[in-house]
């Protein structure tokens, strides 16, 4: 038998720390770190959504202010005023575009039955041509966004025909509609 069968091969250098390492322990540590990071990520995500909501609400408030300014200003009489109000309106449109970019959409309430999930009643008014409980106008526009409701709307709803008109209606149509009256009176009182 020749010397070829002697074990003169060289050892492969491996760092001693790697030889002694225990991969199971390392895996356990890593899983613990992943769990902590996931928890932290979840908390930060919630915080980010809250911060973003706050920022969007500030944008909406700004948009409301611009709308109020434009409404208060009315018709501009001077060219300089017209240019100024035009710029303000353009700024308002830009803010609305930013809100739309972030999927913030106004809630359509006017002419719709009151939705207590999205709207608060700010007032009740009698209206001959509108059924009771239908929204007449908005005092504050409500908004939805991908996470749900961003801001509740504040609306004025109709209480139906005014008592005088209702009385006339009763006179002409008879007694059957009289049952609706106490409810309307109650809702008017609660709104005030």
């Amino acid at each position: 038998m020749g010397h070829t069968f002697d074990f003169e091969d060289s050892f492969y250098p491996v760092p001693p720390a790697a030889v002694d390492a225990n991969p199971a322990t390392a895996l356990r540590d890593l899983l613990y770190r992943v769990a902590r990071l996931e928890q932290s990520l979840g908390e930060q995500r919630v915080q980010a959504v809250a911060d973003f909501k706050e920022m969007l609400l500030e944008f909406i408030s700004l948009s409301d202010d611009i709308t109020n300014i434009a409404e208060r200003w009315g018709v501009a009489t001077k060219a300089q005023e017209a240019a100024l109000i035009g710029s303000v309106i353009a700024l308002g449109r830009k803010i609305v575009a930013i809100l739309r970019h972030h999927h913030v959409e106004p809630i359509n309430t006017i002419g719709q039955p009151l939705d207590p999930d999205t709207s608060d009643v700010a007032g009740i008014e009698a209206n001959d041509g509108v059924l009771s409980g239908v929204v007449l106008r908005e005092l504050q526009v409500g908004y939805n966004w991908p996470q749900g409701l961003l801001r509740r709307a504040r609306v004025v709803v109709s209480s139906g025909p005014a008592p005088a008109a209702q009385g006339a209606g009763e006179a002409s149509a008879g007694a059957p509609q009289a049952a609706g009256r106490p409810n309307a009176a109650a809702s008017t009182k609660s709104a005030s």
Partner: protein, 178 residues
């Protein structure tokens, strides 16, 4: 000779082969290096055991090294030597042939393959010689025993004849006296 080139999975930096700590992000990568170089660790174990003459344990370590990385040719070479030391020629030949498949340019593996082939042939001829010698010896023993049996038979026949003659002679004497 070192196969280890590691990119840190945490920061993407290069980790030198003489350390287990990433120089950029200081993460401990010893477990990862342990897993990636498991075949080398087993190979080193096998080599150390083989040098101590603990061939069975060396074989187990080398088989474990190959379980981690079958394409690691040096482990096949070393395993072939262990088999050769144990005179397990078919296994030695299979191991060195696999090493040559993986590393056809490996001069050491080629020399080892030739040496194993020669040693296997020598072992085979020695075995055949021994068998021939045993057969010849057996034949000699058989011939000797046959000769002994023949001699014993002839001796038996002679002895029987002699006794018969003796009895017959003694019987004749008695008759004459009466």
């Amino acid at each position: 000779m070192n196969e280890l080139t590691l990119t840190c999975p945490y920061c993407g930096g290069m980790v030198p082969d003489n350390t287990t700590i990433c120089p950029d992000c200081h993460e401990d990568l010893s477990s990862l290096i342990h897993l990636e170089s498991a075949h080398l660790i087993r190979y080193n174990e096998g080599l150390a055991l083989a040098r101590e003459g603990r061939l069975e344990e060396a074989k187990a370590s080398l088989i474990a090294a190959l379980a981690h990385k079958e394409s690691f040719a040096p482990a096949h070479v070393l395993l072939a030597k262990v088999y050769a030391k144990q005179q397990c020629w078919p296994e030695a030949r299979a191991s060195v042939e696999r090493a040559l498949e993986l590393a056809p340019e490996d001069e050491q593996a080629r020399l080892l393959a030739g040496e194993i082939k020669r040693a296997a042939q020598e072992a085979e001829s020695t075995r055949q010689d021994a068998a021939r010698t045993r057969r010849a010896s057996a034949e000699r023993v058989l011939a000797t025993s046959q000769r002994d049996v023949a001699k014993a038979f002839a001796f038996g026949v002679g002895l029987t004849t002699f006794i018969a003659l003796l009895i017959s002679w003694l019987g004749g004497g008695k008759k004459r006296r009466s």
